[in-house]
């Protein structure tokens, strides 16, 4: 055993890059909400980028190490403290047996990634160590961590330095979430479509790993239709369809919900489009009440953004000499 949970914070889970390949069976991707930060945390402690780490949301856990290791904390600005002394985020530091890692108040962002050299060694379930709490699958006993839990860690090596601010990626204010209008865009009026992009929305407090709900924008006006066989009576209802990762559904036309890593895979709400994969990490760093806008892009722009994100990771690897 190498990491003991003294207190779990609000919700800390074991996550890796996720569990793709089972969404058609209703088992979501899971994995880190900010996979850029997750990858960098692993790079800093000399792990494979897809090793399992701890994801903490809004409030840090308190952990005790029972064996020496190298640790790094990335993601939102949740200031780490080693034995009560401030230490830097986005930087590898050694810990000794008996050392305690705790955190100050969250300053910005929403989620921190705590990587330990060797990776968190929980059983692999359907190809991943990620926790899917709703399905009680993966991670540590399929659930968020509790006080008294002990986590095994693999064999690890030395730290790789630090990552400066200009190589990190966090959302702006307001966050700009690029999206491709989708299959059901035709259900809303042209004027409603313009307002959707013009409005500044705010993250609702209930936003979580399943979906991020946004409030404060204008309700959508729908194009009149004859209710299709199999669809609900609300104009936002459709005949049940698959829900892609990143899809934006608007139940009742009022509050858009972006489906994230632990989302359901299908249902009967129309989707106005999808947030592009390059910007899903940014959503994982949004606090309740923080402002966000949706920005329309084309498929070519979405693919260029994906390349930019891969280039940003390549710059971090080059900086760390990996």
């Amino acid at each position: 055993m190498a990491v003991k949970v003294i207190s779990p914070g609000l919700s800390a889970t074991v996550q890796d890059l996720g569990r793709p390949g089972y969404y058609h069976l209703g088992i979501p991707l899971s994995g880190g909400m900010d996979r850029f930060a997750l990858r960098v945390a692993n790079m800093l402690v000399g792990n494979d980028e897809g090793a399992a780490v701890l994801e903490a949301v809004f409030m840090g856990p308190e952990l005790e190490f029972t064996t020496p290791a190298t640790v790094a904390v990335t993601g939102g600005d949740l200031p780490p403290k080693l034995n009560g002394e401030d230490c830097a985020g986005w930087e590898a530091f050694p810990v000794k047996a008996g050392d305690r890692l705790s955190f100050g108040f969250l300053k910005s962002g929403a989620r921190a990634y705590i990587a330990v050299s060797g990776g968190i060694d929980v059983p692999v379930k359907l190809g991943s160590r990620s926790t899917y709490t709703l399905g009680a699958l993966g991670g540590h006993e399929g659930r968020a961590l509790k006080a008294g839990d002990e986590l095994a860690v693999g064999a690890g090596g030395a730290g790789k330095g630090s990552v400066p601010e200009n190589l990190r990626r966090l959302p702006g204010n307001p966050a700009e979430l690029r999206m491709l209008p989708g299959l059901y865009w035709h259900r809303i009026t042209a004027e409603a479509g313009k307002r959707f992009f013009a409005d500044t929305w705010k993250v609702a407090p209930e936003a979580d790993r399943i979906g991020y709900r946004f409030k404060g924008g204008t309700a959508l006006d729908f194009v009149p239709r004859e209710q299709p066989f199999g669809a609900g009576s609300n104009p936002s209802n459709i005949v049940d369809a698959c829900y892609p990762y990143g899809s934006i559904q608007v139940p009742g036309g009022t509050e858009p919900i972006v489906l994230h890593r632990d989302a359901v895979s299908g249902g009967g709400y129309m989707m106005v489009g999808c947030v592009i994969s390059a910007d899903m990490d940014l959503i994982g760093q949004l606090q309740p009440h923080s402002p966000a806008r949706f920005v329309e892009v084309t498929m070519d722009q979405a693919l260029a953004a994906r390349h930019d994100r891969q280039a940003a990771l390549a710059r971090v690897r080059a900086h760390l000499g990996l």
Partner: protein, 77 residues
């Protein structure tokens, strides 16, 4: 004077339900461990407990206000 800070970002509530009286009124005494409010985030409510004791609490954040982590909710003398 001591400050009681919110451990979480979310929405601050001073009572357990809309039709219930607040946990504490301005001027009330506070014991260590007393619940002074709730923070709503991620579909659940989290109690905020005082880590200090005092004879006079004054709220500086209003009911249903959005708060950041570390926001001062109340001051205690």
């Amino acid at each position: 004077m001591a400050q009681i800070q919110s451990p979480l970002p979310g929405t601050f509530y001073r009572s357990s339900a809309p039709d219930k009286p607040p946990f504490k009124a301005d001027g009330d005494p506070v014991a260590m461990g007393d619940v002074i409010g709730l923070i709503e985030v991620m579909k659940s409510f989290h109690e905020v407990r005082s880590e200090v004791a005092g004879t006079n609490i004054r709220f500086v954040t209003d009911n249903e206000d959005p708060v950041m982590a570390g926001a001062v909710l109340a001051e205690v003398d």
